[in-house]
């Protein structure tokens, strides 16, 4: 997918400048103020950076044109330590893609079906030596309370390094109170953290009809609050899809019906999630370096 460079280069090139607070395009390759393209050798030999060997080698990630958004595609600077450990131990990273409604198989025709496959390919393409073992798991309409129990059992069975969790849609649709939902989410995230399982959350889809629906948006906001509190990476699918809807008001895939926006949301979601995961692994590398 992209050229690979060392984490060391990434660090000295000002990794954090291309994090969630990056320039308007939120694109690692976009030459924006303060950001140095990662693909180029780092011109700044950071004098104060601790000298150490590079651990994880990551390439740059690029959004496809149609997925570029103005708002940050993800939030947070959480370190994905378990994923990093798996990469360094040269074993496959076990990933549960939860809530994907996904079906098995490469070559599945719909974006919804191929989202975990795309995520797997993107991750393997961008982090050197990374192999992903993907476990897509749908959520059968259970709200967070019931889903938490099922998730814990799945986690105990699969023993993943990472969960990429599309959270909140069922609760938003079932009109669960945002505070109750938030408490349940906090509990589950604490449990996952206690077992050293990395998490990337993905918030619900943007649906124009519900853009002014307070109950729906309160769930979206609650996820952001909890993610920030618990220091968990969050893919801002809702904002990104809203951006896409605004950016392409007249384009064919949006004007006919809103269902196609949904498809696009899935395609782009894999890109945003890849980006967040790479940043999380790099963050783990930085923190590890700081300890050396």
């Amino acid at each position: 997918m992209a050229s690979r460079i060392s984490i060391f280069s990434a660090v000295v090139a000002g990794l954090l400048a291309v994090g969630p607070q990056a320039g308007a395009t939120d694109d690692l390759n976009a030459p924006s103020a303060g950001a140095v393209p990662l693909a180029t050798p780092a011109p700044l030999a950071a004098p104060k950076a601790p000298a150490r060997r590079p651990f994880v080698r990551a390439g740059n990630t690029t959004y496809s044109t149609e997925c570029k958004v103005k708002s940050p595609a993800y939030e947070g600077r959480a370190a994905l330590r378990s994923v990093r450990r798996a990469v360094l131990e040269k074993r496959p990273v076990r990933v549960i893609a939860l809530g994907s409604s996904s079906t098995v198989g490469i070559g599945a025709s719909s974006p919804l079906a191929s989202y975990p496959v795309r995520l797997e390919n993107d991750l393997e393409g961008v982090i050197e030596g990374l192999q992903v073992e993907m476990f897509p798991r749908g959520q059968s309409g259970e709200v967070a309370e019931g889903a938490a129990e099922r998730l814990k059992a799945e986690v105990a069975e699969i023993k993943p390094d990472l969960i990429v969790w599309q959270v909140g849609t069922n609760d938003a649709v079932a009109r669960i109170d945002a505070d109750d939902f938030g408490d349940q989410l906090r509990d589950t995230l604490s449990w996952l953290a206690s077992h050293k399982i990395d998490v990337v959350l993905i918030d619900p889809q943007y649906v124009e009809r519900l853009s002014k629906d307070e109950r729906y948006t309160s769930i979206v906001n609650e996820i952001a609050t909890v993610a920030s509190e618990m220091r968990v990476l969050l893919v801002n699918r809702y904002d990104a899809m809203a951006d896409l809807a605004r950016q392409h008001p007249g384009s064919s895939y949006l004007s006919n019906d809103r269902f196609h926006l949904n498809d696009l949301g899935y395609r782009c979601m894999a890109e945003y999630a890849t980006r967040a995961i790479v940043a999380g692994v790099l963050q783990a590398d930085i923190e590890n370096g700081a300890m050396h």
Partner: protein, 358 residues
């Protein structure tokens, strides 16, 4: 039409609870079993299905040739399979109609319905094979497999009830120990309810009811166990109220023996169900005497459980849609529950009038 009996009554209660539980977020869910016990209405429904099977297999059918009994159970399983195909198809259509009417793509992925719309080729096959299930429409596939498995155990029970129970328990233990499950397809994962473990509950229902007529000491044994059962029910109540659940990462292997897992029906859930059955066994005559209309209402639902279950599942989905579209208030929830209960009674009446028609 048979007069109200305990099995029909409690089955009716289970159906009402399933209807309410299938509309998540409603205040009325506080009235359902899962808030007071480790097990919930699904266990009650399956256990009572086993009790009901005992009446079928040990009644007039007991003197009939084995072939006739097997054919009857196979045809019943076929009937339930048909019911599943119809209800899941209607459910998918409801979601599609809602998505079109509201211009809302979210509905197309609700309850894991995504594959029905985005991977139609494979999900059409999976629907017929019962390997593709959507949320809240996953009990009937379990029931189909349970009935087919029950044939083996019922035939064994003609020879020895203990042998049937032992074989069923052995299958349960192996299933939990080796985590054997039925895969779902085209979605990855497994069945929401694992029939290979849930079969023990239907066999327990069968064996306990069949024992009633076979062993004179049965009633005395139940009476002796009653205080213990009540104590276990109370312990379950406390466990639920303090919200204790074993941590699946910390329990020893094989872990499903030590969890409260619903998919595998962990032993704690079975114990809870048996304790409830014994603790509430004496309640029916009292309820019949003092709450006649309620007993008659629930029994009518229980007598026509398949038709009522299918309609309840679809009404619950309609109720969820109503809460999604409208502002969920206590008044709306009350309306949904009240209307649902009336429509379920009408369904039972229609099913009964059809079966008694010449």
């Amino acid at each position: 039409m048979r007069p109200p009996n305990a099995i029909d009554f409690w089955r009716g209660i289970a159906l009402v609870m399933i209807f309410i539980n299938h509309i998540p977020g409603m205040d009325y869910s506080i009235l359902t079993l899962r808030n007071y016990a480790i097990s919930d209405a699904a266990e009650l429904f399956v256990f009572l299905a086993g009790c009901s099977l005992a009446l079928v297999a040990n009644g007039k059918a007991a003197s009939r040739p084995v072939g006739q009994l097997v054919m009857r159970l196979v045809m019943r399983a076929f009937e339930i399979w048909q019911a599943q195909i119809v209800t899941i198809s209607v459910a998918v259509a409801i979601l599609a109609a809602g998505a079109i009417a509201l211009d809302d793509p979210l509905l197309l992925e609700w309850h894991n319905a995504g594959p029905a719309f985005f991977d139609t080729v494979r999900s059409s096959v999976g629907m017929v094979l019962l390997t593709y299930q959507i949320g809240y429409f996953n009990i009937l596939p379990l029931y189909v497999v349970l009935l087919l498995l029950a044939i083996v155990f019922i035939l064994m029970a003609r020879w020895s009830l203990i042998a049937a129970l032992a074989a069923s328990t052995a299958l349960y233990v192996v299933t939990l120990a080796f985590e054997i499950e039925l895969p779902s397809w085209p979605s990855e994962g497994a069945w929401f309810f694992n029939p290979l473990s849930w079969q023990l509950l239907i066999v327990l229902g069968f064996v306990t009811t069949a024992s009633k007529g076979k062993y004179p000491a049965w009633r005395e044994t139940v009476e002796r166990l009653w205080p213990l059962a009540v104590a276990l029910v109370l312990v379950g109540l406390v466990i639920v109220w303090v919200d204790y659940r074993p941590d699946p990462m910390l329990v020893p292997e094989p872990r499903y023996f030590f969890l409260f897992d619903k998919k595998y029906l962990s032993p704690a859930r079975i114990l809870s169900m048996i304790a409830i059955a014994i603790a509430f066994y004496p309640a029916f005559p009292v309820l019949l005497r003092y709450a006649g209309p309620v007993v008659r209402y629930c029994s009518s639902l229980g007598r026509n459980s398949l038709a009522v279950f299918c309609v309840a599942s679809l009404l619950a989905l309609a109720g969820q849609m109503a809460r999604y579209v409208g502002e969920p208030t206590f008044l709306l929830d009350t309306l949904i529950v009240a209307l649902g209960l009336v429509l379920l009674r009408i369904t039972a009446w229609l099913a009964e009038s059809q079966s008694s028609a010449p």
